[in-house]
C-alpha cells in the first residue's frame, strides 16, 4: 500500500569513501503524520533525509517517496517536497521578499506575487519584507525558511534540525506552524535534539551509528527500552553521584538541581546499589524514565561508532 505511505524506504546505505554514514535504514511513514527523527550528532539523520529527497545518491537500498522512486525520480520528488536545511540556506544578501519571490518562481507558482504577499502576511513579515534576510534573528530566519519551503504546498516536509539554537518562544511558534501545516494534510519528518519536540511527534525514529535502533511513540520507546529510573531528592544527594556512577547495575547518573536520576535495566541491582549507600539524607523513588534517559541508554547500547571500518 505504497499510496498511503509518504516515505517508504528500505535498506538505505550511504558510504562516503570508506566511511559508512547510513547503514541499512528502513522507514515506513504514513501520510499526514508528524514524525521525529532523533539520534546523536553524526548518526546519519541528515544523510538519510538528503537521500530521501534526492540530494544524495544511494550507495544501496531502494524506496519511494510520495510514490516516486528515490533513485530515479528525484526531480518529481523535489517538486512536491519542501526541504529545510540544517544551516540557514537562503540568500542573506537578498531581501525577505526577494527570497520568497525567487523560490516561488523556481517552483513556477502561478500568481507568485500574490502567494508571496500571503506568505509574508502569514509570517507577519509584511512590514519587514524589504529587509535583507541576513538581518533576521535566528528564530525569524527559521520561520522564513519554513514558509519558503512550504510555499509551493508540498505534500512532504523534511525539516533538518529546524529549531537548533532558537529561543523557546520561537520554537513554540515554529511547532505551532508545523502542526498547522500537518492539519492541512502535509506529512512532516523533523529531526531534532530537543526532547519536548520529540514529544510533540506522532512517532519517533531513533538512529545511532547509521542504524535505526528504535521506532515508535514516545511511550512505546520508553517501555521498549526496559529502562528503570530512580529519582533521589535531598540536600546532599549530588555528592552521591561519584559513588553511584561506578556501582554495579547503574548505567547512567543524571544531575538535576537538587536531585539525581539513576538508571539501569535491572531494578533489583539498582535497589541494591541504593541500599548500599550510607546516607539517609536522600529520598529515593522509582519514576518513569524520561525520554532523555531513554535516548542516552539507546545510544550507549548502540555501542561505539565502528562505521569507520565498516
Amino acid at each position: 500500500m505504497t499510496q498511503e505511505l509518504a516515505i517508504d524506504v528500505r535498506g538505505l546505505v550511504k558510504r562516503f569513501g570508506s566511511k559508512t554514514a547510513v547503514n541499512g535504514v528502513d522507514i515506513q511513514m504514513p501520510r499526514g503524520q508528524v514524525w521525529g527523527f532523533l539520534g546523536p550528532n553524526g548518526s546519519g539523520k541528515t544523510t538519510t533525509i538528503r537521500m530521501i529527497c534526492g540530494l544524495l545518491k544511494l550507495t544501496d537500498g531502494e524506496g519511494e517517496c510520495l510514490g516516486f522512486d528515490i533513485r530515479k525520480d528525484a526531480s518529481l520528488i523535489k517538486a512536491q517536497t519542501g526541504y529545510m536545511t540544517q544551516k540557514f540556506s537562503f540568500w542573506t544578501d537578498l531581501t525577505i521578499r526577494e527570497n520568497l519571490e525567487f523560490v516561488a518562481r523556481l517552483y513556477r507558482l502561478k500568481n507568485a506575487s500574490r502567494v508571496v504577499d500571503e506568505t509574508l502576511d502569514g509570517l507577519s513579515l509584511s512590514k519587514r519584507q524589504h529587509q535583507l534576510a541576513g538581518a533576521l534573528s535566528g528564530g525569524w530566519k527559521q520561520r522564513l525558511a519554513l514558509a519558503a519551503v512550504s510555499m509551493h504546498h508540498p505534500k512532504l516536509l523534511l525539516l533538518d534540525e529546524p529549531t537548533a539554537g532558537v529561543d523557546p518562544q520561537a520554537r513554540r511558534d515554529f511547532w505551532d506552524e508545523i502542526h498547522r501545516l500537518s492539519s492541512n494534510g502535509i506529512t512532516v519528518l523533523v529531526s531534532t535534539h530537543y526532547m519536548d519536540e520529540a514529544e510533540r511527534c506522532d512517532r519517533i525514529v531513533y538512529l545511532a551509528n547509521g542504524k535505526k535502533v528504535a521506532e515508535g511513540t514516545v511511550a512505546q520507546i520508553i517501555d521498549m527500552s526496559g529502562l528503570i529510573t530512580f529519582r533521589g531528592e535531598g540536600e546532599n544527594v549530588r555528592h552521591l553521584a561519584p559513588q553511584l556512577e561506578h556501582a554495579p547495575g547503574i548505567d547512567h547518573v543524571a544531575y538535576f538541581a537538587s536531585a539525581l536520576h539513576v538508571s539501569g535495566s535491572d531494578r533489583s541491582a539498582i535497589r541494591h546499589a541504593l541500599d548500599q549507600l550510607n546516607d539517609d539524607g536522600a529520598d529515593w523513588k522509582e519514576v518513569r524514565p524520561s525520554l532523555e534517559d531513554t535516548f542516552i541508554e539507546l545510544k550507549a547500547r548502540a555501542g561505539d561508532d565502528t562505521r569507520q571500518h565498516a
Binding site: 529527497c53 540530494l55 540556506s89
Partner: protein, 375 residues
C-alpha cells in the same frame, strides 16, 4: 616570553591550516615555477624565426642567396612561397605570416646592370615590437648575402656591393603606435579576467554559503542553473566591450577597418568560452579563495602566451602550442584583425573555429562536473 609563545602558537596554527589547504599550498609552489618558465623561456622580446612568405618572381643564384641569407640570419623563417599579391595579402591579414618578401621579376638582371632594383618587404606591423628588429636588420642581411654571392662570381673581394633599394611596407600600423596594438588587445584581457572570475566566484559562493543545497533541493535542472547563472555576465561582458571599444575609437583613435559584426561574433563566442572556464572552475573549487586562485592560474598564461604582452611568433614552439589552445590568443587575432587589418569573416574563420572548439570542450567539462546532488 609569553608573547613569543603566543606568536609561536599562531605560527603553528597558520602552518597547519596552510598545509590543509592543499590547493593554496600547491599554488604557492606552482605559480613561481610557472612564472619562471614563462618569463625565462617562453617570452622573447627580440623575436626570431618569424614566419615569412616569399613571393619570388624569378629564380637565380642571386635571389636564392638573398633568401638563404634571410633564413640564416635567424629572424626570418620561410614557411610559404606565394604566387600572387592577393595570396600574400591574405596570409598577412590572417596572421599566418609576419612578413612577405617580394623579389620582382628582372631583379638579378637589373642588379648586375647597376640599375638599383627594388626588393619589397611587407611587414605585419600591428605589433610594432614583434617586427621592428627583423625589419631593421633586413638591409644588412641582404647586403651581406649579395656581397658573398658576387665574390663567388668574380672572385674579387673588393667589388663594391651592388646597389639595391629595400622597400619596407609596414602594414596595418604604419606609424608603429603601440596603443593601436595594446588597446584592442586589452578588451580580450579585461573580458578574460572578469568573465572567468565572476562566474567561478558566483558559483562557489553558493557552495560556500550553503545556498547550493537549497538550490539543488528545488526543482531546477543543471542546464537551467548554468544558463541562469551565466547570462547576466554575458550582459556585463557586452557592456565592457562597448566601453573599451568606445575608448579605443574615440580616446585612443584606434582605426576600425573591418566589420563590427564579425568582431561582435568573436566577442560573443569569446565571452561564452570564458564563462565556461569559470563555470568549470567552480565545479572544482570548494571555496571562493580557490576559485580566485584557479582564475589566476588561467589568467597568467593567457596574458603571457596569447601575444598580448609579448610577440606570439617570437615564442618557442611549445609555448605557441599552448597559446593556440587559449581563447585569448584567437580573440586577439580577431580583434586586431578586424580593427587594424580589416580582416573578414573568411580570414578569421580558423580563430572562430578554435574558440568554438574550446568552448564546446569546456562546456562539456562543466556539464559533466556539475553535480545535481551533493555527492
Amino acid at each position: 616570553m609569553t608573547t613569543l609563545a603566543r606568536i609561536l602558537a599562531i605560527i603553528m596554527k597558520e602552518a597547519v591550516q596552510m598545509r590543509r589547504d592543499r590547493m593554496t599550498f600547491g599554488m604557492m609552489l606552482v605559480l613561481p615555477v610557472m612564472q619562471l618558465i614563462l618569463f625565462g623561456y617562453a617570452i622573447n622580446t627580440d623575436p626570431h624565426s618569424l614566419p615569412t612568405a616569399i613571393q619570388m618572381e624569378e629564380d637565380t643564384p642571386i635571389t636564392r642567396s638573398i633568401i638563404s641569407g634571410l633564413e640564416v640570419s635567424g629572424y626570418y623563417a620561410i614557411v610559404e612561397r606565394t604566387q600572387s599579391d592577393m595570396e600574400s595579402d591574405s596570409m598577412l591579414a590572417r596572421g599566418d605570416v609576419s612578413f612577405v618578401v617580394t623579389i620582382p621579376k628582372g631583379f638579378t638582371k637589373r642588379l648586375l646592370r647597376g640599375e638599383t632594383p627594388q626588393l619589397l618587404i611587407e611587414a605585419d606591423a600591428s605589433d610594432p615590437s614583434a617586427s621592428s628588429n627583423a625589419i631593421s636588420r633586413a638591409q644588412v642581411i641582404v647586403q651581406r648575402a649579395l656581397a658573398h654571392e658576387l665574390y663567388k662570381l668574380n672572385g674579387d673581394p673588393q667589388t663594391a656591393p651592388p646597389l639595391f633599394e629595400l622597400v619596407i611596407h609596414p602594414k596595418y600600423n604604419p606609424a608603429a603606435v603601440t596603443q593601436y596594438n595594446i588597446v584592442p588587445g586589452l578588451l580580450g584581457v579585461i573580458l578574460t579576467m572578469t568573465m572567468v572570475m565572476m562566474t567561478s566566484l558566483a558559483m562557489t559562493r553558493e557552495t560556500e554559503q550553503g545556498t547550493m543545497e537549497n538550490l539543488l533541493a528545488m526543482p531546477a535542472r543543471p542546464i537551467e542553473v548554468m544558463l541562469g547563472k551565466i547570462s547576466p555576465y554575458v550582459i556585463v561582458g557586452a557592456v565592457q566591450t562597448l566601453v573599451v571599444l568606445a575608448a579605443a575609437i574615440w580616446v585612443f583613435k584606434v582605426p576600425f577597418l573591418g566589420s563590427f559584426w564579425v568582431l561582435s561574433l568573436g566577442v560573443v563566442i569569446f565571452v561564452i568560452a570564458n564563462l565556461a572556464v569559470g563555470f568549470s572552475f567552480s565545479t572544482f573549487a570548494r571555496s571562493q579563495m580557490q576559485a580566485m586562485q584557479m582564475t589566476f592560474f588561467f589568467f597568467l598564461p593567457s596574458l603571457l602566451l596569447s601575444g598580448f604582452m609579448f610577440p606570439f611568433r617570437g615564442m618557442p614552439n611549445w609555448a605557441q602550442m599552448i597559446g593556440e589552445i587559449l581563447p585569448l590568443t584567437h580573440f586577439l587575432r580577431i580583434v586586431r584583425g578586424t580593427m587594424l587589418k580589416g580582416a573578414d569573416l573568411h580570414q578569421l574563420q580558423p580563430d572562430i573555429n578554435a574558440m568554438l572548439l574550446f568552448t564546446l570542450f569546456m562546456g562539456a567539462v562543466a556539464m559533466v562536473r556539475y553535480r545535481q546532488t551533493l555527492d
